[in-house]
């Protein structure tokens, strides 16, 4: 019994370092944050939308637009009310595809998943996406 418990613990530890193991819950969490962000944009709630942004993304919005985040973010050309599609999580980074073909990028910290880039569209295969909002 003790050997079985030890083996299970070792397999769980090995699994947590490998790709595809135990990321289902994280993918759902990242998708939920993405949907909350876009739902806030759709109902015109800039404050709620900015709460889902990373600190770097918030600073970037305020610096580029010269206004507070909650005012500036509603003026950006970002998808509104978009439903989250397939999500991918690797370590502390995630991407969520949206129904309109664009993508949202997130990173995980002590406060959970935060949006680091949004309104992102692919360019060429080995080049970064072009994003409307980028932290």
């Amino acid at each position: 019994m003790r050997a079985a418990a030890l083996l299970t613990a070792m397999l769980a530890l090995a699994c947590s370092t490998l790709t595809g193991c135990g990321t289902g819950e994280k993918e759902r969490d990242a998708a939920a944050v993405t949907e909350r962000f876009h739902a806030a944009l759709e109902r015109g709630d800039g404050r709620a939308a900015c709460r889902e942004l990373s600190a770097a993304a918030t600073s970037a919005v305020e610096r580029d637009e010269g206004r507070s985040c909650e005012e500036a973010i509603l003026g950006l050309d970002l998808p509104r009310g978009a439903a989250a599609g397939p999500s991918r999580v690797f370590q502390l980074s995630a991407s969520v595809e949206l129904a309109d073909g664009s993508a949202t990028f997130l990173s995980e910290g002590p406060a959970g998943w935060k949006v680091t880039a949004d309104g992102c569209t692919p360019t060429s295969p080995d080049q970064p996406y072009e994003c409307v909002l980028e932290g």
Partner: protein, 224 residues
């Protein structure tokens, strides 16, 4: 206990060194990971989070796989290839699997020989190659683990830069995977090759990795 320590000193010393190096690698690796977090404006992670991350897993596995490849190839190539004057080589003229008598298997086994060396048949064939089989199995297993942890780490970095991710098969053909693999392989092959040739001309008194100090340079397969 004292007898146990005396009879197992070599493996215990290397076990201690391995564990110490692994601990310090984890500490240094965490510091490096958090430095990169700072560069991306991301928060620091804890030691436990780092130890269970693919970043740490990949860093460990890429080194383990190359070490076990080194031992696999060394065990395999020294069956047939010789190095004149090296204690790492068999004597000239003894290349190949050698006779059953020389290898003390089957009817030529002693009473103290391992059981599978005496019984013959498949078990003896397996035991005759057990060192190579185990080293190769560990090499392949750790190389697989390197690829799985490596693709996770690489994709995390690609997402950080707002790029598309790679599948595992795509990662196996990527520059990142092969650079990490080959940077380790080249150092292992250099180390073994260096030892094989240095030991022709250089000596370390008392070490079985060296010839006796007074042994001639051309003497092959003798230990100090």
């Amino acid at each position: 206990m004292r007898r146990f320590l005396k009879h197992n000193g070599l493996s215990l010393a290397f076990l201690g060194l391995f564990l110490a190096a692994l601990v310090f690698q984890a500490i240094a690796g965490l510091a490096e990971f958090n430095d990169e977090q700072d560069m991306h404006g991301d928060p620091h992670i804890s030691l436990w989070r780092y130890l269970t991350s693919s970043a740490f897993g990949a860093a460990v596995m890429e080194n383990w796989q190359s070490e076990y490849l080194q031992f696999t190839l060394f065990a395999l190539l020294t069956v047939r290839l010789l190095q004149r004057g090296s204690p790492e080589s068999k004597e000239l003229g003894k290349e190949g699997r050698e006779s059953d008598e020389d290898q003390m298997v089957g009817e030529h086994a002693r009473e103290t020989s391992p059981r599978w060396a005496r019984v013959g048949g498949l078990r003896t064939r397996v035991y005759e190659n057990s060192l190579l089989l185990v080293m190769a199995a560990i090499w392949i297993g750790t190389w697989l683990a390197q690829s799985l942890t490596g693709v996770t780490e690489y994709n995390a970095e690609r997402l950080d830069h707002h790029m598309e991710t790679l599948s595992w098969p795509e990662y196996l053909g990527s520059a990142n995977f092969w650079e990490r693999t080959l940077q380790n392989w080249q150092s292992e092959f250099l180390a073994v090759g260096s030892l094989a040739i240095f030991a022709v001309y250089l000596r370390q008194r008392g070490s079985p990795e060296s010839k006796p100090v007074g042994a001639a340079h051309h003497e092959t397969g003798v230990e100090g």
